[in-house]
């Protein structure tokens, strides 16, 4: 994938994020604020039989955090919690320039050059940190 296309996908997911909507009590909720000074994202998760049946977010964040959250949600709906955790791990490896499994990351591969911008790494990982927290909370 060339850089322009990657950038377009990121911009599109930033300006028109997927499943950006505040949800109520029927969802498990966490906030990512304690991980970052600026980005402030809430995740809303619904699980049935270990399956992520629904995932939404709201809040304010930079273009990278916002778009990662959007694509993360698209990728994870319908996955089991274990699958979600594996994807999260592979994504973090990619961001941290370690060996990773490209095949399971799908559209998330558009972030495979973020490591070139160290000040963006945390923004990219933040939504997945939130995901891990919310999965823990669902236990």
């Amino acid at each position: 994938m060339n850089s322009n296309l990657k950038r377009e996908i990121i911009i599109e997911n930033n300006s028109h994020p997927f499943h950006k909507e505040t949800k109520g009590e029927e969802y498990i909720k966490i906030n990512t604020r304690n991980e970052s000074c600026i980005d402030n994202i809430n995740l809303f998760l619904k699980i049935e039989n270990n399956l992520i049946v629904d995932l939404y977010f709201d809040g304010e964040a930079c273009a990278i955090s916002t778009s990662v959250t959007s694509i993360m949600i698209k990728t994870l709906i319908g996955k089991t919690l274990d699958e979600a955790l594996v994807i999260s791990e592979e994504f973090e490896k990619m961001i941290n320039e370690q060996e990773y499994n490209k095949n399971i990351l799908g559209e998330l591969n558009v972030y495979d050059e973020i490591y070139k911008q160290p000040n963006r790494k945390n923004c990219a990982i933040l939504p997945f940190k939130g995901l891990k927290q919310i999965i823990k909370k669902s236990d």
Binding site: R7, D39, E60, C62, A63, N119
Partner: protein, 393 residues
């Protein structure tokens, strides 16, 4: 201000984050080095010449600070590790015993965490109440609103002299005068003002005034707490150790020394104090507020010509401009500017109560005496770009 005095200005970077910290002139760096190369001993404990001379020099700087802020007595000057430390000393060392359950502290929603959080903690432990002064339409403090917020239970007003986000200069003279008529003490966070205003604590009649060295070209890790003599006498030290006690016995009794020694437990940041002395000397000789105000006006007028920029604090008097680029998150703008080698700050700038004012995420341009018109022009050129978001990625 001579840019050649600042080694950091040789870098390929336009630095507009001066509210976070300022660059240091060579004389400050040299003074710190001189301590480590030629004077690296401790003070007050030894009889040899080098130690005696250094003790004298440190006390001279206490006097220099006293003169710098026009205090009455150099005993009213306490060396701390920074503004945050100074404010914590006042809140936990003084207010904790001065304020009784039900008493009220007045502050605003534009204060820094270093001022607000200690009071929040005190509100929990001592059952005091933190109340807020309404801000005017420009998010600034006016005396009328201070008067309205005062109740018979108000015992302390705690404010920044200049805030670190809005950059507004508070009308302290009239606030303090009014407060004292009602037996209310006033604690001032001078972190942002100390470089820019000629602070006269005696004329202001302020009760406590706190600031950091590093925001006025001094080293990090050194700050000052000024307090009125009689209030400092009532204040308790937060930490105890070498240098604070006159006597102690194994039964556990001890007698604290007088002020300021009782507040300066342990070995002090000696190189920091020496560097601060040089910073004050440099600042007093070289600060040019007229130049800085002109520069800010220039930046404002140029930024206002760019239609995609929204400015939030047009009317404030401090050297700070907060803004956003339409449809671009503040952090994305800051990262874009960083790619252009321009340093600004984005976010809420440690003043998280600003969320209530709809100002939680902004870009902050904070100017200092060494910034130039050419640097502003580079910023304007960078901001005059419709693809800021794309280019931030």
């Amino acid at each position: 201000m001579n840019r050649n005095d600042f080694p950091m200005l040789n870098k390929d970077l336009i630095y507009f984050d001066n509210a976070a910290t300022t660059f240091k002139p060579q004389i400050v760096i040299d003074r710190i080095n001189k301590y480590y190369i030629n004077q690296s001993v401790n003070i007050n404990r030894s009889d040899y010449d080098l130690s005696q001379e250094l003790s004298t020099e440190i006390e001279k700087i206490r006097t220099q600070v006293k003169n710098f802020i026009h205090a009455e007595d150099s005993k009213e000057i306490i060396f701390t590790s920074g503004g945050t430390h100074s404010l914590n000393m006042v809140v936990f060392g003084f207010c904790a015993s001065y304020l009784k359950p039900g008493d009220e502290v007045l502050t605003t929603e534009t204060e820094h965490a270093s001022l607000v959080l200690p009071f929040f903690e005190l509100a929990e432990t001592n059952q005091i109440k933190v109340n807020y002064i309404d801000l005017d339409k420009n998010n600034e403090v006016v005396l009328e609103n201070v008067k309205k917020a005062i109740t018979p239970k108000t015992k302390v007003i705690a404010l920044a002299h200049i805030t670190n986000v809005i950059g507004d200069v508070r009308p302290l003279q009239e606030i303090i005068e009014y407060a004292h008529l009602h037996n209310i003490l006033v604690i001032i966070d001078g972190a942002q003002s100390i470089s820019h205003l000629k602070v006269d604590v005696k004329q202001l009649d302020v009760d406590f005034y706190a600031f950091s060295g590093h925001k006025m070209m001094g080293p990090t890790g050194i700050g000052i707490l000024y307090g009125k003599y009689n209030l400092l006498e009532q204040m308790k030290p937060l930490i105890l150790g070498g240098g604070v006690s006159a006597t102690f016995q194994k039964e556990g009794q001890y007698l604290l020394k007088n002020i300021p020694e009782k507040f300066e437990a342990g070995t002090q940041n000696l190189s920091g104090i020496l560097g601060l002395g040089s910073a004050i000397e440099y600042l007093e000789k070289n600060r040019d507020e007229v130049y800085l105000q002109k520069l800010k006006k220039y930046a404002l007028s140029k930024m206002k010509e760019i239609s995609q920029i929204k400015i939030y604090n047009e009317y404030s008097k401090g050297p700070i401009i907060i803004f956003n680029v339409n449809n671009v998150f503040s952090q994305d703008t800051a990262i874009y500017l960083s790619k252009k080698k321009i340093a600004i700050r984005s976010g809420n700038h440690c003043a998280k109560l600003l969320n209530n004012l709809g100002l939680n995420n902004t870009c902050r341009l904070s100017l200092y005496f060494y910034n130039t018109k050419e640097e502003i022009d580079s910023l304007i050129k960078a901001l005059n770009n419709e693809n800021i978001l794309e280019e931030s990625l």
